[in-house]
Every structure is written in C-alpha cells, then in structure tokens.
C-alpha cells in the first residue's frame, strides 16, 4: 500500500515537471509582463505540430528538431509581440485577453485545416520506453529527464530574470513602463525580447508534451488550464512557485487517477480549488 502510494507520488512529481514546463511561459507573461495569454496552450500545440512536421520531413530525432525550433520560437514570440500584442498591452487588461482569445481560435482552426482532427504524438526513438530502476521503483527515463529539465529551466530563468542585465530591464519595464520610456529604456524592445523568451519555453513545452501525451488540434485549452492552475498555485511571478505548483498538480492528478480514471483531471482541479481558497496569493508569491 505504502509502496504503491510512494510510487504514485514519484510519478506525480515527475508529471509535475512537465506541467511546470507548460506553465513557465505563462508565468513569465502573467507575472512579469502582466498580461494573460489565452492562446498559450494553443501555441504549445502549434509548435508540437511544427516539431512533428520538421522531424518527419528532415528524418531527424524530434529532440534535434527542438534544437532547430528554439531560435524560430524566439523569433516567433518576438514578432508576435512586436507586430500584434504591443498594440494591445496597456491599461486596458481586456484587450490582450480578447486578442489572444482570437488567436486561440485562429490557431485551433488553422491546425484543423492543416493537419486534420487526428490525434498525434511525438517520438524520440528508444528514449520513449527506456526506464530506470531506482530503489525498488521503475521510473521512465523520459519523465526523469523532463523533470530534471524543468528544474534546470526554473533555475535558469530565475537567474535570467533576477540576476542578468536583460532580466533587470524586463523587471524595470514591468515596474513602470512610462518611467522606462522616459529614461530611454525602450519598453517595446524589452517586451519583444521577453515574449521571445516565452516562445522558447513554449517550444520546449511543446516537445515534451508531445513525447509524453497525445495531442490534437484542439488540445490547447486543456493545456492552458493546467498552466493557469500551476501559475496561480505557485504564486504570480514566482518561477520556483511554478515548479512547486506543477508538482502539486501532478501528484493530485496521479493519485486521483489511481482512485478512478475519471478522477484524474477532477482531482487536480479540486486540489487547485482547495489551495486557492486557503491561499489565494499562491504558495510562493512574489508580489
């Protein structure tokens, strides 16, 4: 019994790593740039399809395709901010909400048109099924790598945001856009770079989501929901909180799924609601 639950908790923690990766980009845009990207989940699914296409067309491993995709994703985020989102961010919080909601619909229908409604998955060759035997437990190598990557990304982005020069400019613009512009720190440029960074996290999330679970053209909103819950659980603007939120949601879903398959997603939502009621500011709030 205890062994079973210990095993479930380990699986849950590992799943939480993936959820934290989903949420990283959203955590950056909500917590730092102060706008909610409704299309976050759809962007992840879009890049999953792109990775699938690139890996198939070039006959390369999807992890190599991810390496190729990262600069493209940075450019995509940069361009999206520069061309579209920059025009709507500002005192009216409804505008970016509506525009990204529209983007979400465009992406979903575009994917349906381009790739059909079939369910897909990504494959990284033998890594898909490789497993490790640690202390009496069998764990998949891919989930372990995903979790390690989640920790590395949280530490890396925390450093980028709170220790690096570009991170200081991003926080400065988040603090006071008008003051930044007044002293010659271009908020337009800084926001574009920040959205480029969000794009990189989206590409990474897209790859590891596709390796771990099925996706189709309309999977985006459910990914967004997970990312949202993780960000709110962890506390706005806190990347460490995002990792913790992911882990809690992962454990809740895994244990819920053990009780009854139908309870997997529901258990996650219930735990989210419970913690949200007790601690609305999140577990490790930055603000």
């Amino acid at each position: 019994m205890i062994v079973t639950y210990l095993n479930l908790i380990i699986q849950g923690v590992l799943l939480g790593g993936l959820y934290a990766i989903f949420a990283l980009g959203l955590s950056l845009s909500v917590g730092v740039m102060r706008f909610v990207n409704i299309a976050h989940g759809d962007f992840i699914v879009l890049v999953s399809f792109l990775l699938l296409t690139v890996a198939t067309a070039l006959h390369i491993n999807v992890l190599l395709a991810l390496v190729l995709m990262i600069p493209v994703a940075f450019g995509g985020g940069w361009l999206l901010q520069r061309v579209l989102l920059q025009r709507v961010i500002g005192p009216n919080v409804l505008l970016p909400l509506l525009v990204t909601f529209g983007l979400s619909i465009i992406v979903q229908n575009g994917l349906l048109q381009g790739f059909g409604a079939d369910t897909r998955t990504l494959s990284a060759g033998s890594l898909d099924t490789a497993s490790l035997h640690i202390g009496g437990f069998y764990v998949g190598l891919l989930p372990v790598l995903t979790f390690a990557l989640a920790v590395a990304l949280v530490v890396g982005f925390d450093w980028l945001l709170y220790r690096s020069r570009i991170g200081a400019s991003i926080r400065a613009v988040a603090d006071d856009v008008a003051a930044a512009d007044l002293i010659g720190l271009s908020s337009v440029r800084v926001y574009a770079i920040a959205m480029g960074i969000v794009g990189v996290t989206v590409a990474i999330a897209a790859c590891f989501m596709g390796l771990r679970m099925n996706f189709d053209a309309t999977s985006g909103p459910s990914r967004l929901l997970v990312a949202f819950e993780v960000v709110v659980l962890g506390g706005l603007g806190s990347l460490r909180g995002t990792l913790l939120g992911g882990i809690i949601l992962g454990i809740a879903q895994t244990i819920g799924g053990q009780i009854d398959g139908a309870w997997q997603v529901l258990a996650g939502h219930l735990v989210f609601l419970l913690i949200f009621l007790l601690r609305p500011q999140g577990l490790l709030p930055r603000y």
């Binding site: 926080r171 008008a178 007044l182």
Partner: protein, 241 residues
C-alpha cells in the same frame, strides 16, 4: 564656463518649439540654447511648461513643432532611446526609480540606456554617494526620498551624458539634502557636462546657473544671466503680474 558664442554652435539649440498634448498647447514657439558645459536654469510657475520642455527634448510628448538640435544633429521626433544614447540623460520629476530593482540594478539601467562610453563608472557614482554603496543590494523602494534622488541622479550620470536634464530634483527633500545635491551638480558640471535645471525654487537654481529662462504660460517671459536682473524683475516675470 563656456557661454554660447557665434563661433561655437551650442550643444543644444531649440528654435520655435511648440508642444501639444492632443488639443492643448503647452509651449508656444520658444527658443532656447544651452552651451557646452553650461548650467541653464528654467524657472516658472506650476503649469508654465517647464516639464513639457524637458519631455519634448527627449521626445516624450504627443506632438511638437520646431527644431531641436543636439551636438549638430537634428533630434526632434527621434526615438527616446536614440536621443539618450546620443548623450542626453533625464532625471525625471518624482525620481521614477524602478521600485523592485536593487539600487545597483537601477543604476545599471542608466548605463544600458546611455552612450556606453568611458564616462562615469558605477564606482564613481558610489564615491559621489557613499550611502548608496552600502545599500547597493537593497530594493529601491526601501530608500529614503533623498537617497532615491541620489539613485535617480546616479542613473542619469551612468548614461554618460553630455547634457543632464534635471526635473525638480529638490522637490520634497530636506534643505540640507538639497544643498548636498546642488554641490554635487556643480562637481558634475565641472566634468564638462551641461545641465538644464528645472526648478520652482528660483533662489537656489539661479544661484548656480550661468543663464536662465523664465517661462510664463508656455512662453519665455525673461532670459539672461541671473546677475543682470534684480529679484523683483524676475518675480514679476515669473508670476506675470
């Protein structure tokens, strides 16, 4: 101190500048010149257009008419980052630090926006304001008003400006701290940095200025050397009575 002469073009030259905020006109075709390394004081009552003038120089107003030349180049309607990078730094009214950034991060933002030359270094700013060296890792919101003003001034200095625009730097500060800041402005000026000083406190800013302009309802009502006019004349043009 270099005063503008016909042989040498002024560092900053403004001709026929009008500033508009939507339908409202804040400045009406004013001419202003600032020589190399000169201290020029802009005085005037509330709403006279002093801050609008500074914001127009760094291209942060809705719309302008007229010419603004800096170091021989036309900077009117250039983007603010380009203007700052060419050597004009603003100490904004109300300091406008980034509260969640540390003192050091706030100062480094100044360097990032500036000329990135071999001008003022972080350590020199800490030498000018020793208290900031102790507090370099603290977030800016924890500092007192005077210390925040030091950071705002230090941030502008790190941009390595040839021209420093100071908007009401003494506002809300204790007189002794204001004295210190003004002493500092003189030492900054001795490095050859031109200073435009916007103040409501006439006495203090005229005491260190080479020349001054008095604004009244968006127009220049009086200009010249502070020593050329008595207190009454200046006060009359200040209030327009």
């Amino acid at each position: 101190m270099a005063v503008t002469s016909s042989a040498e073009a002024p560092l900053l030259s403004i001709e026929g500048l009008s500033v508009y905020y939507q339908q409202f006109r804040a400045l009406h075709g004013i001419d202003i010149a600032v020589g190399q390394g000169e201290i020029v004081s802009i005085i005037g009552a509330n709403g006279a257009g002093k801050s609008s003038l500074l914001k127009a120089i760094v291209s942060q107003v809705d719309r302008i008419e007229g010419r603004i030349q800096f170091a021989g180049a036309d900077i009117a309607n250039q983007p603010t980052p380009a203007i700052v990078a060419s050597g004009i730094a603003l100490v904004p009214e109300g300091r406008r630090l980034f509260p969640s950034l540390t003192v050091e991060e706030n100062l480094e933002i100044g360097w990032q926006t500036g000329r990135k030359g071999s001008g003022v270094k972080l350590n020199e700013v800490f030498d000018l304001f020793p208290v900031l060296r102790e507090k370099r890792r603290q977030p800016a919101w924890q500092l007192s008003g005077g210390q925040q003003q030091m950071v705002a001034l230090g941030r502008a200095l790190l941009a390595d400006p040839r021209l420093l625009l100071c908007d009401e730097i003494s506002l809300g500060l204790a007189p002794t701290i204001v004295n210190d800041l003004y002493t500092l402005l003189l030492s900054i000026n001795q490095r050859g940095i031109g200073i435009v000083l916007v103040e409501q406190d006439i006495r203090r800013s005229l005491a260190i200025a080479n020349r001054f302009y008095c604004l009244l309802e968006g127009r220049i009502s009086l200009s010249g050397k502070p020593s050329d006019f008595d207190r009454d004349t200046i006060t009359r043009h200040y209030f327009g009575s």
